[in-house]
């Protein structure tokens, strides 16, 4: 099971500022292991989706070019304190993870 994400959602005026920190190695499949000289197999997040109170707000596609332990920040207008934010990702091996928080 993948490590949990850290999600923080705060209100700034009428806009929710949402920051997500995912735990993932994000291997591109192009890097060589320093000891064995073998290519490290690709292992990266391919898709991230975010919803507020069940309604989709963000859908992201990612390649191996996103840094290890991906950070993602986005803003949603019209959200309110207490709204439920849910973020999910799927990686290229089929592993997935969903975490939730409330807008504070």
């Amino acid at each position: 099971m993948a490590e949990p994400m850290k999600i923080r959602a705060t209100m700034a005026g009428d806009t929710a500022d949402i920051k997500v920190l995912m735990n993932h190695p994000m291997e591109t499949g192009q890097r060589k292991d320093a000891k064995t000289g073998q290519l490290v197999p690709a292992h990266y997040i391919t898709e991230v989706t975010a919803t507020i109170n069940g309604a989709a707000v963000l859908k992201a596609g990612m390649g191996g070019g996103v840094s290890k332990n991906p950070y993602l920040g986005f803003k949603v207008k019209g959200a309110k304190a207490g709204d439920k934010v849910s973020v999910s990702w799927v990686d290229n091996t089929g592993d997935k993870r969903t975490d939730e928080t409330t807008v504070g």
Partner: protein
Amino acid sequence: MNALRRNVLKGATGAGAVAVAVAAGLITPTRVLAGAPRSAFEAKNLADAMKGMGLPPATDSKDITIKAPDIAENGAVVPVEVTSSIAGTSAIAIIAEKNNTPLVADFEFSGGAQGYVSTRIKMGSTALVRAIVTAGGKTYQAAKEVKVTIGGCGG
């Protein structure tokens, strides 16, 4: 749904075919213009990545702000923040031109999400970081050069 879109795009030889598909209600316009199929992420150069995303050539826009360091000491972690003040921004794609696979990430917004995204990317070498914005069926772009002193891709 994704499989359908891919087939439609694959089968389309020109914009005409896509327009027919749109008219037939098979796919909505935003779906055609935003949301890159996986093949775009494997494209080896900028032109192929753009083609893979099914985007028309973009026009330069001053309403897109890319916040990234002028010089990144570590190419493995380059913070990039893109803000689009173009009305009706529905998607932002981030491209690092000289990476082995230039398309880094694409973001589709809905339900009140603003034309803003902040993330961290890897860069293999000094290159232009390009933001491609889709708004109201049109494509806009902006670019910023980031100098990389230590590459973050490959060993």
